[in-house]
Structure formats: structure tokens, C-alpha cells
């Protein structure tokens, strides 16, 4: 199961990197959303897929039964989902606001903070 999922993670990463290489902010953000999902799947796969024994401890035992599923990767993924979702929400609003204020969603045309028409520092004293 893990090799197949690893291949899927690779596909997610390739697609998201392709999208993030675009100049348009919306495409970049779609890439970010895909990257977040790819990473969640990666955490899940790296934690090993075991589904036969649920991670529930018997009352009188000190450890889960042999071969029990690992619950920790799912806790990590849950945290990562919340974080990546909230960041995506923030960045979407920011992109919309940038489009309103700067009049473009092309990153090459966003030169307000670093103007192209900068003549450089004065050369004499």
C-alpha cells in the first residue's frame, strides 16, 4: 500500500510545484492547496498504513496489542489540515485584496514595494 501512496504523493507534489511556478497568484494558491493535501498524505504514508488492529488498549494492559495502528500520524495530519486551511483562507483574502488594490494578479507586475524605476543610489558625495 505504501509504495502506491508514495507515488500519489509524488503526483500531488509535481502538480502543485507546476502550479506554483505560474505567475498568476490564483494558480499559485491552487498549488499551495494541493501541496497541503500532498503533505497530509505524505504524513499518513510515512506513519505506515496498518488497518487490521485498532489502537485500543485492553483494560488491564500497559501497551496496545501487537501490530496496532499508529494514531499519532493522524493527530499530526489533523493539526496540519487546520493550519494549512487557515493559511489558505488568509492568502485567498490577501490575493483578492491585492487584486483590488494593485489591479493585477500577475506577480511580475507587482512592483510597488520594489519599483522598477529605481535610479540607484547617488554616486557622488
Amino acid at each position: 500500500m505504501e509504495p502506491w501512496l508514495s507515488g500519489l504523493v509524488g503526483l500531488f507534489f509535481a502538480a502543485s510545484l507546476y502550479m506554483m511556478l505560474s505567475k498568476k497568484i490564483i494558480r499559485i494558491l491552487l498549488g499551495v492547496a494541493m501541496l497541503g493535501n500532498g503533505v497530509n498524505l505524505l504524513l499518513f504514508t510515512a506513519g505506515r498504513i496498518t488497518r487490521d488492529v485498532p489502537p485500543i488498549m485492553p483494560l488491564d494492559a500497559y501497551a496496545p496489542p501487537e501490530g496496532a495502528a499508529n494514531a499519532l500520524p493522524q493527530a499530526l495530519i489533523l493539526t496540519a489540515i487546520v493550519i494549512s486551511f487557515s493559511f489558505l483562507a488568509f492568502l485567498l483574502v490577501l490575493a483578492f485584496r491585492a487584486f483590488q488594490d494593485l489591479g493585477t494578479d500577475d506577480t511580475d507586475a507587482m512592483r510597488v514595494a520594489e519599483p522598477l524605476a529605481d535610479p540607484g543610489p547617488p554616486r557622488g558625495y
Binding site: A46, G47, D101, L102, T107, A113, E114, D118, P122, Y125
Partner: protein
């Protein structure tokens, strides 16, 4: 976790610490609780903006005091550990205050306290209403958490906490240039932290643990089939982006000059150093032997970062943007320790990190004073400040001396240690890069001082005459104190470190040896040494 009454008695001591944490151990977590609580209170009273500054000031003062107490304890006893939820390590999240993290946390609290204590006029009522102080408190929570945590995934969470608060601070005011800067800062930093999460997930898959002390032991015991070298390269790329090392530094000069001077000062003092700290911690302490092969690459990155920063500073026509390049150049100096991994180089890097936090914050605050009086940061349009206020001009000159690494200020000692360490480690060219970048920075900051302060007025003023029309006087004495006070306090700290470097040098040396030898750290957390 309480067992129901009819279940067989469970011996909790097998999995948990049963004795309650002593009051002393709470010192590890208090620097986190204080800003987090203050941030929550500030969000709740967000409409009563007149309460924001007193609450935030009190919390920052308490934070600085707690950090100092913690630092004193770490200096006498070594790393202090507190287990969240009382789980026995390596389960549960360990908070581990070691010398490196505690020192940086203390200096960051000092910088934040000084930069915001005097009610900076640049933080006006509108910005308070949009949440400057709540964001500031949450930023401090994230920074302190990142410096004190002993769990890799928890470090990722604190990175995200400080990242989202820094987004808020950066875009506060909604100027067009701020939105432009935030788009670049936000996207590149988010990709970097996601890369950090990828590396963390894969490391968990390889070693089965997230506790830093446990990782340090298992990484040294792991066989050659565990791909730790590749993971070290992933961590390196992620943290180099966070720290703004060349060639992944371009988000910093694109964004740091856009917010108000106080926010820029906080960012320059706190954020990039968290990246450097995480880089040192993962590559040296956690993955030590597995990441050794990255040394040459890191040395090239360090040299290129120093020179790129210095050249960027030389090419800037805007004072604030020049300061952004100076931050980048400083990051190059801090990476020398990670590249050479010797006691001397790490000592120099840690010393430089503390110096850079103080001096870069002070310079951004000074740029705020210049902008408040001249309404521009363009070198061509500035001039005449020496004639208007000679004492302030000399304070800024001292800070510029410090950032260029000239004695007797704080920048001289770490650079001297780094050059010495580079020659001792057989990389004289890296020592030469430190010196050449220092020379170029001396040119850049010398020129900036001549233009802004020494000459009589803006471009076009004849030699020997003084044109003060471009320099407004302060609106009131209170405004003058609020703007200049923090610069002077930080400049005094810079001068004191420059004249009496022995204390900080000893702390940096202790922190460096703590990084190089994980035995003391792991013994304190887990009770075993690798």
C-alpha cells in the same frame, strides 16, 4: 485519562511522571503562558484600545523577567525540562530550555519590550484597533515557543503561530506596498514551513520519534539504510529560506521595508533568527554526523549570503531597503557556525545572532525617526540631520559602526571569532568573505550616514551650506522621547556588549558546546546519552 472506578488499578508510574512539577519547573512554560494569555485578553478587549498598551507592556516586561530567571537557572543547572501532560519522555511534548534557546528568547523579549515600551507614534489608533498589540503578543508566543520547545512537530506549530502573526503585523495599515510585500513574504514563507513539515513527517517515518533528544540519540545509532542525509538537506533548505540565506533570500528585501518602523524592527530582531536557531538545532544537535556532508555547501551559501547582502546594501537608494540587505548579510555570518561545526565558529554565530537582533532592531527604529522627520527614506532626498540633531546622529553612527563590525561596538567580536574559527578550520576563504563583506558594508553604511546626516541638505544643496527645510522638528517632546528612546537604549546595549564582551562570549561558548555534544541535553531529557 482517569480510569473508571470499577477498572483494575493501573500503575500510572509506568507511563507518567507522578510527582507534581515543582514550582521551579513551571519557569519553562511561563514565558509561553504569559504572552499567550495577554494575547487572548487583548483580543477580547479589542475595542478598548487604550488598554492595549498597558496590558502588552506589562506582559512583555513579565516575559523578559521570566526569561532572565530561566536563563539564570539554565546557566547554573544546565538544560531545564518540563513534560507536557506529565507523560514520560519521549512520549508527550517536552519543553526543554537549553542555553542557546533561552539566551535568544531573553534577547528577543528585551528587543520587543524596548521597541514597543514607549508607545511608538507610528502605531496609531487605527492600527491598534486592527490589532497591533494582540498580533505582537501572539508573535512573542510563537517566537518563545520555537526557542523553548523540545519537540520537532511542536516547533513546526510555533513556526506557524509566529508566521500567521507576522502576516497580520506586516499587512497592518493596508498600504499598497505592504500588500505587495505580504504576498511575496507570505507565499515563500508558507512554502518553506510546508517543506519543514515534509521533512518532519519523513523523519518521523524513519526514526519513529519527534522528541528532539530522542532524535539526537536515534539518528546517531541509525544504520546507513536510514536516509538521514537527504532529510538534513530538506531541513537545510526549509530553514535557509526562513532565515533568508542566499539564494532563497529574496522575500526579505521585498517585504521588510514596507510596514511601520516598529514592525520592521520587531521582524529584523526576531524572525530570521528563529530560522537560524532551527537550522543550528536540527543540523548540528539532532542530525550532527548525518549532515556533515552539507558543510561545504553551507559554507558557500554563507559566503554568498554575506556578499549578496553587502552588495544589495551598496546598490540601495532607500535607507529602509538597505537595512533589509544588511539583515541578509548578517544571516551569512550566522551560517558560518552551521557550515564549519567547530566550537569557535558556533560561538561566533551565536554571538552574532544576539548582536544582530539588537543592532538591526535599533537601526530600523532609527530609520523610523528619520522618516518621521523627513517623510522619506530616499537617500537622495535626505540630508542635514547632523545639523538638526548631532547627538542622535552620533548614536546612529555608533550603530552603523556596530553593523559593519568595527570596534569598539558589538559587531566586532563575533566577526573576529568567526574569522579566527574559519582560519583554524582550514577555510581561510570563508574568513576572507567575512572581512570583504564587512568592508563593503562599511562603504554602504558610511555613504548612507554621509547622505542622511553629514551633508547640509538634500541633493542639490551647495557644499558648506545647511538646508534644514527637509527636516521637520518633532511634534512634541513626548514624541521625540518615544521615537529616540528605544534607539538609545538598544545602542547602549550594543556599546556595553562591545566594551564588555566576556559575559556574552562565555554564554555563546556554553551554548555552542551544548550544540556540539548532545550528551548533556539527552541526559537531562531522557536520562541516557548517545
Amino acid at each position: 485519562m482517569a480510569a473508571s472506578s470499577d477498572s483494575p488499578a493501573v500503575d500510572l508510574a509506568a507511563a507518567m511522571i507522578t510527582t507534581p512539577a515543582s514550582l521551579q519547573d513551571w519557569l519553562v512554560i511561563l514565558p509561553l503562558i504569559v504572552p499567550l494569555t495577554a494575547g487572548a485578553i487583548l483580543v477580547m478587549i479589542r475595542h478598548s484600545t487604550h488598554w492595549h498598551r498597558p496590558v502588552a507592556g506589562l506582559a512583555l516586561a513579565a516575559l523578559f523577567l521570566l526569561d532572565l530567571l530561566l536563563l539564570r537557572r539554565v546557566l547554573t543547572e544546565g538544560p531545564v525540562v518540563m513534560m507536557m501532560g506529565s507523560w514520560l519522555p519521549p512520549f508527550g511534548i517536552a519543553f526543554t530550555a537549553d542555553l542557546l534557546g533561552t539566551t535568544l528568547a531573553t534577547v528577543s523579549a528585551f528587543v520587543a519590550l524596548v521597541a514597543t515600551a514607549t508607545a511608538p507614534p507610528s502605531i496609531n489608533t487605527a492600527e491598534r484597533r486592527y490589532g497591533f498589540y494582540p498580533f505582537l503578543m501572539l508573535l512573542m508566543t510563537g517566537v518563545t515557543g520555537a526557542f523553548l520547545t523540545g519537540d520537532l512537530f511542536n516547533l513546526y506549530v510555533w513556526f506557524e503561530v509566529l508566521l500567521i502573526s507576522s502576516f497580520g503585523l506586516l499587512v497592518l495599515g493596508s498600504e499598497k506596498s505592504q500588500i505587495d510585500g505580504t504576498v511575496k513574504y507570505g507565499l515563500l514563507n508558507l512554502v518553506a514551513t510546508t517543506l519543514f513539515l515534509v521533512a518532519t513527517g519523513l523523519l518521523y517515518g524513519a526514526l519513529g520519534t519527534l522528541n528532539m533528544a530522542d532524535i539526537a540519540i536515534k539518528a546517531r545509532a541509525a544504520g546507513p539504510d536510514v536516509p538521514l542525509g537527504a532529510l538534513a538537506a530538506l531541513f537545510m533548505l526549509a530553514f535557509a529560506t526562513k532565515a533568508a540565506a542566499f539564494p532563497v533570500n529574496f522575500w526579505l528585501p521585498a517585504s521588510y521595508h514596507t510596514p511601520t518602523a516598529t514592525v520592521s524592527a520587531l521582524f529584523a530582531g526576531l524572525l530570521t533568527k528563529v530560522g537560524v536557531y532551527a537550522l543550528l538545532k536540527t543540523l548540528v544537535l539532532l542530525l550532527g554526523p548525518s549532515s556533515a556532508y552539507l558543510g561545504t555547501l553551507l559554507a558557500f551559501v554563507a559566503g554568498a549570503t554575506m556578499l549578496a547582502g553587502a552588495l544589495g546594501a551598496l546598490a540601495s537608494s532607500d535607507f529602509r531597503r538597505m537595512l533589509g540587505w544588511l539583515v541578509v548579510s548578517g544571516i551569512g555570518n550566522m551560517l558560518v557556525g552551521a557550515a564549519l561545526v567547530t566550537g569557535g565558529a558556533l560561538t561566533g554565530s551565536i554571538f552574532y545572532a544576539v548582536h544582530s537582533m539588537l543592532v538591526m532592531s535599533a537601526l530600523y527604529l532609527a530609520s523610523g525617526v528619520v522618516e518621521a522627520r523627513a517623510a522619506t527614506a530616499d537617500l537622495r532626498k535626505l540630508g542635514g540631520f547632523y545639523a538638526a540633531s548631532p547627538l542622535f546622529s552620533l548614536v546612529v553612527l555608533a550603530l552603523l559602526f556596530a553593523v559593519a563590525g568595527l570596534p569598539p561596538f558589538s559587531g566586532f567580536w563575533p566577526k573576529a571569532i568567526l574569522v579566527d574559527a574559519a582560519f583554524a578550520a582550514g577555510a581561510p576563504w570563508l574568513g576572507a568573505a567575512v572581512l570583504v563583506s564587512g568592508f563593503l558594508i562599511t562603504l554602504a553604511v558610511g555613504r548612507a550616514w554621509l547622505y542622511i546626516f553629514w551633508r547640509g541638505g538634500p541633493e542639490g544643496t551647495p557644499d558648506g551650506t545647511v538646508a534644514l527645510a527637509g527636516v521637520r522638528s518633532f511634534e512634541s517632546n513626548a514624541q521625540a522621547v518615544a521615537l529616540i528612546g528605544p534607539v538609545v537604549v538598544l545602542a547602549v546595549a550594543v556599546a556595553v556588549i562591545g566594551l564588555l564582551p566576556a559575559g556574552l562570549g562565555a554564554i555563546a561558548e556554553g551554548a555552542a558546546s551544548g550544540l556540539l555534544d548532545p550528551a548533556g541535553f539527552t541526559a537531562r531529557v531522557l536520562g541516557v546519552t548517545p
